[in-house]
Symmetry: C2
Amino acid sequence: MANPVLVELTRGSLVESVHRGSVAIVDVEGATRFSLGDIDSPVYPRSSLKPIQALPLAESGAIEAFGLTDEHLALACASHSAEPMHTTRIAAWLQRLGLSGSDLACGPHEVRDEPTRRAMTLRGERPTSIHNNCSGKHTGFLTVARHWDVATNGYEHIDHPVQQAVAAALRELSGVAHLPHGVDGCTAPNFAIPLSGFARALAKLAAPASLAPVRAQAARRIFAAMSAHPELVSGTGRACQILMRASTGRVVVKSGAEGYFAGMVPHLGIGIAIKIDDGSARGSETVIAAILEKLGLIGQDKLAHALARGPVTNTRGAIVGERRPASALGTITL
Amino acid sequence: MANPVLVELTRGSLVESVHRGSVAIVDVEGATRFSLGDIDSPVYPRSSLKPIQALPLAESGAIEAFGLTDEHLALACASHSAEPMHTTRIAAWLQRLGLSGSDLACGPHEVRDEPTRRAMTLRGERPTSIHNNCSGKHTGFLTVARHWDVATNGYEHIDHPVQQAVAAALRELSGVAHLPHGVDGCTAPNFAIPLSGFARALAKLAAPASLAPVRAQAARRIFAAMSAHPELVSGTGRACQILMRASTGRVVVKSGAEGYFAGMVPHLGIGIAIKIDDGSARGSETVIAAILEKLGLIGQDKLAHALARGPVTNTRGAIVGERRPASALGTITL
């Protein structure tokens, strides 16, 4: 049974391409408030897992011990664009730990931010591990290892205490016991979980009153840090930055590779998990924006509404089609 | 009714993403020799249309009149990477017509070839219309307009004689009378046509014995030009270059935006048309390579087989999953 079409791209009078996928909106009680498609099969949240991967950092006391701030916590939850605002903070953070880029298990990859890439080319610089979009998450893992006084070497292995703490936190928040793992693009473990379970974990992170006090405080701090620093969580002009700014503090969203997107809405007590079957970011960004628009959470922000629905243009800038949510997304009610 | 899954991407023990789509393999008689999914609804072939868009150039006598070669014909069929081998030839070609980049209706876009982009950044150069991947096709249109002594200005409009000639050729080869048009990414008209009809047109182009002599000769010349210059049709390390080289002259393939791919196999008398529903090039490249592999048309070429099936790696280069054709593609027989 194929998942429903969630996004359509038109050209002229025809629909040219579509993105299928699944959506789960779940509350803190674990009740599914809205769903489309398969929400029961395990899927890797990829970088949408980062707010939960940051829980050991936020609840261990490591932040206070190393004199870190909410900016560092936001970077631990980031898929950043490797702009100077990201890389200078992470380099200084590593130095504070007595570590360097060579301690990061993530390899380098091409810098996402175009002006930064251009400036680096002109300076003859090549990307390092610190430019990896996950370098903040990895530095967060290293911070916890330092604080717990366990080996920093091998922190990316599934049996390392930091990764086991992540898995335990995800199990508690989601209520899902069995979490098959794979290796993420950045070498860290990633845990596959049904959309229903992950949306429940996100709801608990958004509205953590039922959690133990230390974990609840850590959850509130992660939400506050991401919400206060959307540009550190993503980058200039990125979907996460635009949507979080537009929500004026009401929503935290986090993208993931291969068409994943996560959302947390404390005042509604819900978590949102989205997976586009084909792995497309064009698809997942349209869906999360359309859902937030439908729930009245992005105000009049033009950039945010343009993520939900926008023109397809050609190289001359002329409008030749439209990217839009499919009819299935029009049915959302909570 | 959803189209079947054609490509799977795994991570760890799970399938993480899939690409659905349609395939039509049709012979010169118009008989469908193999199909998957919907091959009856109109779809834009996008740049896979270029071999047919080059027919007026090849059959008008314009090539001889302007002293052009098969290299120019290959560039007219190209979605090139804007490497110097492409842009220097197109700039000289425009000069030969008494025209320049400002006569091209396509706008500029970012250069695809990474070393070229880097070198241009270092020289402080920005992309021009000649760097547009479709600039060869546009220069081909201009060449025909010059040769026919009709206006070059407005050559990209649907009612211009060059575009009407393209539409007439597509109608004749495909047997499809109704061709809704949209505007392509480069501003040229593109004609929507069922995969079955487009595959038939490709078969006729590949094995043109039944066509009128002038058109048949033009078709053979287009095949020969693309086959002889795969690097001009695409670029260094691109799928079209790899697959055509691997086929040692037996196959011409041409990519199109939004997950389209076209193939022509003269000795089998078949045309191949592929559309990935979600518009993914990762999907369409895997499918065309898997089909050519299954038909025994890419020999032992490692790069070509790697397009059909390959590892998913992380930023450290470790293998974390696999990209592979889905089982539906295992059923191909002609």
